[in-house]
């Protein structure tokens, strides 16, 4: 990007996909208990982790997230009975795919945070924020997004020659 922007210290952008009934309530509890934690996280509320599609995680990275947190109810406590069981399998598979394609898995964190675990929410978010701060910005997806790469190379010698030949 532009050289001027490097003056500021890097502040990680974190996106958290959370379930309404447990983690969101847990985060709310952290708030009402006036616990302090880094404000880098942007929370997106879902009814259940079972609704969280891997494509949302990809989109978060593509649109500028440096780290992603996915958090829901503990197994057995899902408000919809089995949503988090399906999510557990889905994300186990998705992690392997991400790793195979070359995404650093340290940028993606999964957790079970219940409605009573305000402290755990604070701990998970703080740890992830500091880890991402050490790792730096997520370059890979952002470079992809910025790249205007068409299937045909526009800088071929023939095209250059034709361009230069225009009177």
């Amino acid at each position: 990007m532009h050289a001027e922007k490097q003056h500021h210290a890097f502040e990680p952008k974190l996106v958290a996909f959370v379930c309404t009934w447990c983690t969101y309530a847990g985060a709310d509890l952290a708030g009402t208990s006036r616990m302090h934690y880094p404000s880098n996280v942007r929370v997106v509320k879902f009814p259940c982790t079972g609704r969280i599609d891997p494509v949302f995680i990809l989109r978060a990275f593509q649109k500028g997230a440096d780290g992603v947190l996915v958090s829901g109810c503990h197994p057995g406590d899902c408000h919809y009975m089995a949503g988090n069981f399906h999510a557990r399998r889905r994300f186990a598979a998705f992690r392997q795919l991400l790793d195979f394609v070359g995404v650093d898995l340290d940028r993606l964190q999964f957790s079970w945070v219940s409605a009573a675990e305000g402290g755990k929410w604070v701990e998970v978010v703080t740890e992830l924020t500091e880890r991402i701060r050490q790792m730096g910005p997520m370059r890979e997806f952002r470079e992809l997004d910025a790249e205007e790469h068409w299937s045909a190379q526009l800088d071929e010698p023939e095209i250059r020659a034709a361009y230069n030949a225009i009177p």
Binding site: D53, P54, V55, L58, R59, Q62, P75, G76, A82, F85, H86, R88, R89, R90, F91, A92, A93, F94, R95, Q96, L97, L98, D99, F100, V101, G102, V103, D104, Q109, F110, S111, W112, V124, E140, F141, L144, D145, E147, E148, H149, W150, S151
Partner: protein, 314 residues
Amino acid sequence: MTSNHQNTETPLIDPACYAAATAAIRTEAVRLLVAGEVAAVVGYRAGRRTGSVMPDVATTVEAAGQLLFSPACQNNLALFLSKAKREVLPHGRVAIVVKGCDLRALAGLIGESQLRRDEVHVIGVACPGVFGANADLSKPLSAEGLARKCRACKVHLPEGVDLVAGTLPPLPDLPDLEAEEIARLEAMTPQERWAFWTEQFSRCIRCLACRQICPFCFCTQCLCDRNRPQAVDTSPRPAGNTAWHMVRAMHLAGRCSGCAECERVCPMDIPLNLLNRKMAQELYELYGFEASMQPQEQTPLTSYRDNDDQSFIK
């Protein structure tokens, strides 16, 4: 008896086995149509170029007599049996010619209620192997021309079918190139893997041939088409291309039959089957799941156990 050295005169696989399968398919197809047991036989017939074949829906005895099986029979005909694609076939019971990999797709479709087992008469071919992508179909089948997937095949002999066409000849013993490539990628650092895959995906022109040829991509509205909200960028730029291939790999995880048609039809030679095979490996390691020639009760991502691995979850 296996042979590691192949001179240009000895075919890789005895061609007589393909001729035998052809004869068996023709006999069965004619019998079924004459008896009125099926409305059509979905199989392969000779294409226009030397050595090529094309899918055929044979509804007459004459057409049934033209069906064949050769190393050029690359297409996965189970594609035509999902609900979305079924309209190309006449109504009523149909017969279908399937190789082992195609049979896994058929079994998967039955498992997903796209059709019932009793609606289809399955002619399974004892398949020693077919040509791969970009092979010269007019030449005899060679180790270079053989599809990579065929080197790792464990389903040469179909099971649970209504007829097995042909018998297996001695099979060549060739190294599993796909497994080697996956191992090579797994040994790289994440940065190297990212560089590899972004280079592959940068060639993608989003023709979506991979999706069109896949028996399991039968959604009438694909998540990666134009939608509101837009999940994946549809233009052929690196960001959308990467997302497209990853989303497709996820949507196929636990369903993909390993027919590798996606890789064969890709005009830009992107090694798509590596992604699908890697996911299949992971699902086997995690949940003991393998694609099967018989319809399965559960697929790994539509079921769960209480003690599934959650070591990656805080």
